[in-house]
């Protein structure tokens, strides 16, 4: 199969699929025409550039350890209109905190989340389950065999993560006033990863 044609096939597959396709899956579909994985990734990158050049409203997105076509942000309003605006995900600060604890420490139990947050998280966990951002991944072999929670592929898509490794390391996430524990806070430190200068003063609304 010619490279050009292969790219067309890939474009079709990424357009058809409703979930990210992993390279291994794409190679399996291509069967006898499968290139090396390296070439495949190359093709996908090339396809992405083609779509850019063509100014296509779609883009190749690498997400949740796979690839999928997605709309470009500039065209978002049309998708929203199609789906009557019901596309935005809104999460409360406590839901986000709980979600981040799960993302970093999964699999873990509700009790373990509560140990960190110091509050009951039953309702929040329910919400996250409903939104399919987390799922039950098993039970802990401990007293009462509590349920274990982990994040989903949907979580990675919504948050634009290629993989969980993409999350900044926890110890890099030090708010500025903590970076120089000895000295008085003043203007202490590089706020590191967490750019966007959000103001830690206000517990975000």
């Amino acid at each position: 199969m010619e490279r050009d044609e292969r790219r067309k096939v890939l474009e079709l597959l990424l357009w058809m699929t409703d979930r990210p396709l992993k390279p291994a899956e794409l190679l399996r579909v291509l069967g006898d025409d499968a290139p090396l994985e390296m070439e495949l990734r190359d093709d996908l990158a090339q396809l992405g550039r083609e779509l850019d050049e063509r100014q296509s409203p779609m883009q190749v997105v690498e997400i949740a350890q796979g690839y999928q076509l997605a709309s470009r942000p500039a065209f978002s309003q049309w998708v929203r209109r199609l789906y009557k605006e019901k596309t935005a995900l809104r999460l409360s600060p406590s839901a986000l905190e709980t979600l981040s604890i799960i993302a970093y420490k999964q699999p873990l139990t509700r009790g373990e989340i509560e140990d960190i947050r110091g509050v009951d998280v039953t309702g929040v966990v329910e919400t996250l389950l409903e939104r399919k951002l987390i799922k039950i991944v098993g039970r802990k072999e401990a007293l009462g065999r509590p349920l274990l929670y982990g994040t989903t592929t949907d979580f990675m898509r919504q948050f634009g993560l290629r993989s969980l490794d993409e999350l900044p390391r926890l110890d890099e996430l030090i708010p500025s006033e903590e970076a120089a524990p000895a000295a008085p806070p003043v203007d202490a430190a590089p706020a590191a990863v967490n750019a966007a200068g959000d103001n830690p003063e206000a517990p975000h609304a």
């Binding site: 604890i101 947050r117 991944v137 110890d171 996430l173």
Partner: protein
């Protein structure tokens, strides 16, 4: 008696005791590792008093931490601990650790929120697995019971009597999830009629109920008293959202699932 339960009254500003402490530390421009304990305890208790007035139940969570603070304060008045072992038990160090850890997750949450914001305009295709008609009601327990009864009655009498071994619920749960893993849905009857013995049938029914309770599967009907279809929760097309779930590779839970069966069933 009060109109609000602890759950309903959302303390938007401080979600919990740790948030309150962090807030006070921040507000007073303090260093977490070096909190002036008397002062912070006083401030903390003052706010807890207000909370008590507002909302009786929520204050409970705050009181535990208040006790910790007072314990720390009391210790500070005693001579320094002699042994290192005692040092390790230091409730103050413990609290500081918790605060630092919690603060890191709060930062992580901010990071996630940014990610969410920057991706909110990127939409993915969700090929609906089903026709529009499928977006209907969820089957009630009675629908399930009724279908179950029918299948049970249709078991060949001879087979029905064979008292086979008990089938553990978790085996059935895995079995059902496995069965659903490679198809968009199965009818409830189809799942039940895979069973040949009464006991296995009952186990399967209980397993379905448990999976529904755990939101791992959803039972839906196109019309009242119609066929019941069972979907894996993750394979379910979401109404009017762009992103759909995911035929994830490992739908079966790692550890064996529940053992406490849901309440009433025997048909």
């Amino acid at each position: 008696m009060t109109m609000f339960t602890a759950h309903e009254v959302k303390l938007e500003v401080f979600e919990g005791p740790l948030d309150l402490l962090l807030y006070l530390i921040k507000k007073n421009d303090l260093n977490i590792r070096d909190i002036p304990i008397s002062r912070i305890t006083a401030d903390y208790l003052a706010i807890v008093e207000v909370l008590k007035d507002l909302n009786l139940n929520a204050a409970g969570e705050f009181l535990v931490t208040a006790a910790t603070l007072m314990q720390i304060k009391a210790r500070a008045l005693l001579p320094a601990p002699s042994s290192e072992a005692e040092e390790e038990m230091d409730p103050r160090a413990n609290l500081v650790e918790r605060l630092l850890e919690y603060q890191r997750y709060k930062e992580a949450a901010k990071h996630l929120e940014q990610k969410l914001q920057s991706h909110k305009d990127v939409h993915y295709r969700g090929a609906p697995l089903l026709a529009d008609g499928d977006y209907t009601m969820e089957a009630s327990l009675f629908d399930l019971l009724d279908a179950f009864r029918e299948v049970l009655e249709n078991l060949k009498p001879r087979v029905r009597e064979i008292d086979s071994e008990d089938v553990p619920l978790e085996v059935k749960i895995k079995d059902i999830l496995g069965y659903l893993a490679d198809r968009p849905y199965a009818t409830f009857k189809e799942i039940l009629t895979r069973e040949r013995t009464r006991r296995a049938l009952i186990s399967t029914f209980l397993a379905v109920l448990e999976l529904i309770r755990l939101r791992q599967i959803v039972a839906r009907q196109m019309e009242s008293f119609g066929d019941i279809r069972v979907y894996r929760a993750e394979a379910l097309p979401r109404e009017l959202t762009v992103e759909y779930a995911t035929a994830e590779a490992e739908p079966t839970p790692a550890a064996p699932l529940p053992d406490e069966p849901p309440p009433p069933t025997e048909g």
